[in-house]
Amino acid sequence: MTAYLIRRVLFFGLTLLLTSLIVFAAVRLLPGDVETAVLGRGAEPAARAALREELGLDLPFFMQYGNWLSGFLSGDWGNSYAMKLPIMPLVMERLGNSLRLALIAMLIAVPPSVLLGLFAGLNEGKLFDTVFSLGSLILVGIPEFVMGIILINVVALGWGILPPSASVPPDASFGEALPRLILPSLTAAAVLLAYIGRLTRVGVIAEMRRTYVRTAVLKGLRWRQVIFKHVLRNALLPTITVIAISLGWLISGLVVIENVFAYPGLGRLMVFAIQQRDLPLILGGVMIAVTVFALANLIADLLYAALNPRIRLG
């Protein structure tokens, strides 16, 4: 297990390093150049050259990469071209916002989806299962922005219970921010609910066919003991992995939802950075997104290993 842990963590570091190299190279391939972005279209060649030198753009590629990497690792992520502000606090604040949204979405989605999936799986082929399968398929099929707009129109504008916009003032307390967070979390949760629910259902169905379930039944165990002690322990393994991975998606991948609700998350910051050709900001944002994603995967792997004695004990 220890060897496994070390290997996974090393792999995690390697992933981040390689991604940073790829992202650094890719950002350079974006159309348009930094000078035009910063100085405007009619800038003097001399000013352009001075800017290039100032930003280190005249250096060879790997020197640039090395400089950026050492800065990034020491916490100096450079300044945003567009906002003229240090990048790290900017990204971190947005990361915090995204995290808040993700956790609420997770709390809304996970318990009911696992329960629904379990119940559907135990009643395979029956009415409840059919309704669940159909409903979850529809839920997965509705694009996030459509779901968001429906929620805004019905819940916020129609019933007037919750605010339609999620733009939270930076100094708002959690209690003040919460009502504004519910609709966007609900939108994200809708997708997750269907996804996790379907996965749980499939896992339960597969495990119910395994021979050890018969052994458990023929021991005379009560039905709920068979389900909760024997079946779920195995059936939820893939589900737990997926939940951990979706945390990565919830934090760094909610561009559309954040836009619909005007929520100041990491996704919206990235869109802004790309629109402005703000290279250092893109880099910083992408790296944080990638880190969150890789971390979620790492946690998923470790969790799977910890819960599965076959991996934990080899």
């Binding site: 496994y4 792999f11 050890y212 052994t215 021991k219 005379g220 165990l221 195995n234 599965n308």
Partner: protein, 696 residues
């Protein structure tokens, strides 16, 4: 006699498929009383699993009891509500299943899985129940029961898993009925013998009625007082074990007993033609009539009743009177199989057969020298990420296969026998050593090999369904090697494919069929035909009959023998079953943990001296004869983990362990006067004395 614990009366169980009821068990009646072991023998499709499920009161979804009754201790078991059943399951009746690993929950410790049963049926606290679990593990003779209780199923060996399940089944002090559903089928023969002993021993304590369901006639002969033979869902014959094995009255029983290979018996096996009818096509008259050599018109027109032939001997056949009188013969007269006079020149040749040093024997077609195969190292990235330590599955194996002969390679699971064959054919990389086929080096993957090498060696696998492409017809499967390896044009190849089918006794219209339309035995015939398509000099047969029913197995073995006689092809015949190998092989080699421990000519192989491991194998085989005398040698369960033992690899399990020398020194090869070779610290004359005097 006291009232039976279990009585089954006229039971019919059916499955509902596409709106129709298909009967898997028909009108079965039997009674099992306390301390009795009742055997149910049947091949696949006989309905024995369905019967087990019905008895346990746990039929799978679309199955239902259509008529008849099951009484458990007098209680109407079919109408017992689920709640009551839950109270009885595990307490008064329990079951030991076939495949122990899949029957245990991978995510719970062994001790916990037993303890929860104890806790369910008693007032015990968790600690007390866990203590009882450990006590049970001790009773089933697991070494280190406390340690075993803490382990997860995958951390203990197959034999130990099965012991844990037995501990579970017997944990209740109130046990009345024990159902054993092929409990040793997935185990190695040495483990099987130890587990069977354990059943017999424990039954003296619990005195529960035991229903022993199996396909293995040898296991039944050893374990049961009474046997019912099941065929296509019906009881064909039901008699005390002695009677059944020596005075069977039903043609099916008699033929089945003639289809099992027996050690030391070289008369030709008699195969039963045809196959068990599928659920949809059960004849309404006698179900065995379509395959019966003595069926008359009446058999196809009218269903025979289950008649009482003698006290306690029931038989379902229209002609049992004639068989009982001896006026009707079901079996063919025994004939001695091919072989087996090895000429004197061959004896000197045979001495060289396995030695790697000598070279140049004319008739050798394949020689392997100091072959080693290693698992667990795969490139640089593999080394970085790999979790397993390298493991040498084949370690310094040398052998030769002579032209037109069969070399049987015997070993239990994990012995390296299959790895050896796969390395020869190029599916696994050879680490070191050399192998030559007709003086062509065997190196690299099949893709890297020359056409001549590929053509000269073919392989037949254990599971024909996995080696035949489900989307290709039989004709396509056969003509492909003819075109690619023998360079035939398509029309010519198609004609040749038809000839091949005829050679394996399949009708020509099978050319257009897909593998899913064939039975297991027919698929294996197609696989054999395909192996012969390239006209090879050597065929590697990897457990080719292990997945087949006894009656089908005999026909495949006979087919292999017949084709060998016609085509002068050599076989490397790999099997865990010494009786099967003994039937077919000219030479036999025994492999243990990647090394050969014994090799010899087949005809003298079954007399001492033996390597102690071979001796244990021979003593473990369940013989299909209740009167058979067999020495009792049992090996401790193999440990699944841990490295290769030092010195002699067999020393941790060896019943003839001498002392420190076995631990420290690799044993030398000995040769006795008959040219038999084995590897042990005990010299031949001593071993012969040891192995002839005690026991026997």
């Amino acid at each position: 006699m006291e009232a039976p614990i279990l009585s089954i009366e006229n039971l019919t169980v059916a499955y509902r498929l596409q709106g129709k009821w298909l009967e898997a068990v028909r009108e079965v009646s039997l009674c099992v009383s306390a301390a009795q072991t009742y055997g149910i023998v049947g091949e696949s499709g006989s309905g024995k699993s369905t019967l087990v499920q019905a008895v346990m009161g746990y039929l799978s979804g679309n199955g239902a009891v259509r008529s008849g009754a099951i009484r458990f201790e007098g209680e109407d078991w079919l109408h017992t509500p689920r709640r009551r059943r839950e109270q009885l399951w595990g307490a008064r009746l329990s079951m030991v299943p076939q495949d122990p690993l899949s029957a245990l929950n991978p995510a719970l410790t062994v001790g916990e899985q037993i303890a929860e049963l104890v806790q369910r049926h008693t007032e015990d606290t968790h600690n007390a129940a866990y203590g009882r679990a450990i006590e049970m593990l001790r009773r089933v003779k697991l070494p280190d029961p406390e340690g075993a209780a803490r382990r997860y199923p995958h951390q203990i060996s197959g034999g130990q898993q099965q012991r844990a399940l037995i501990a579970m089944a017997l944990a209740s002090p109130d046990l009345r009925l024990l159902v054993l559903d092929e409990p040793t089928t997935s185990l190695d023969v040495t483990t099987e013998a130890a587990i069977l002993d354990l059943f017999a021993e424990l039954q003296d304590d619990h005195r529960a009625a035991t229903l022993f369901v199996t396909h293995n006639l040898g296991v039944v002969a050893r374990m049961c007082q009474r046997v019912a033979v099941l065929y296509a869902g019906e009881v064909m014959e039901d008699a005390p074990t002695e009677t059944l094995y020596h005075k069977a009255l039903h043609p099916y029983t008699r033929l089945l007993l003639r289809a099992v290979p027996r050690i030391g018996d070289h008369s030709t096996l008699q195969a039963i033609p045809g196959r068990i009818p599928s659920l949809r096509k059960r004849p309404s008259a006698c179900v065995f009539a379509p395959r019966c050599p003595v069926a008359i018109d009446l058999c196809h027109a009218q269903k025979p009743p289950l008649e009482r032939a003698k006290d306690g001997h029931l038989v379902r056949c229209h002609r049992w009177h004639e068989i009982a009188e001896g006026s009707l013969r079901v079996e063919e007269a025994p004939s001695v199989a091919k072989r087996r006079e090895i000429q004197s020149t061959e004896v000197t040749f045979f001495d060289q057969l396995f030695s790697a040093e000598q070279n140049g024997a004319q008739a050798t077609i394949m020689r392997a020298e100091h072959l080693r195969v290693q698992y667990g190292v795969r490139g640089l990235l593999g080394r970085l990420l790999g979790k397993k330590l390298p493991f040498r599955a084949v370690d310094d194996v040398s052998m030769r296969v002579p032209r037109g002969k069969t070399l049987g390679l015997v070993g239990e699971s994990g012995s390296g026998k299959t790895t050896f064959a796969r390395s020869l054919i190029g599916l696994i990389e050879i680490e070191s050593g050399e192998a030559h086929l007709l003086e062509m080096p065997l190196r690299g993957t099949p893709r890297q090999r020359t056409k001549a090498t590929l053509k000269a060696m073919q392989m037949i696998f254990q599971h024909p369904e996995e080696s035949l492409n489900p989307n290709r017809t039989v004709g396509q499967a056969l003509s492909r090697p003819l075109m690619t390896l023998s360079g035939m044009a398509r029309p010519e190849a198609e004609r040749a494919a038809a000839d091949l089918l005829r050679a394996v006794s399949l009708p020509a219209d099978y050319l257009g069929r897909f593998p899913r339309e064939l039975s297991g035995g027919e698929k294996q015939r197609v696989a054999i035909a395909r192996a012969f398509a390239a006209q090879p000099a050597l065929i590697l047969c990897d457990e080719p009959v292990s997945s087949l029913d006894v009656s089908v197995q005999a026909s495949i073995l006979n087919l292999l023998a017949q084709l060998q006689a016609q085509h002068e092809v050599a076989y490397l015949f790999i099997s865990h079953d010494l009786a099967v190998v003994g039937y077919l092989a000219d030479y036999i080699a025994v492999i243990y943990r990647g090394q050969l421990v014994e090799r010899g000519k087949a005809e003298s192989f079954f007399t001492p001296p033996h390597h102690p491991y071979t001796e244990a194998l021979l003593a473990s085989i369940p013989l299909p004869d209740p009167q058979a005398k067999q020495r009792r040698i049992r090996l401790p369960d193999d440990q699944p983990t841990g490295g290769v033992p030092s010195g002699c690899r067999f020393h941790p399990r060896c019943p003839r362990y001498l002392g420190e020398i076995c631990q420290r020194q690799a044993p030398p090869w000995h040769t006795d006067e008959q040219g038999r070779h084995y590897r042990c610290h005990i010299p031949p004359h001593e071993l012969t004395v040891l192995q002839t005097e005690d026991g026997a």
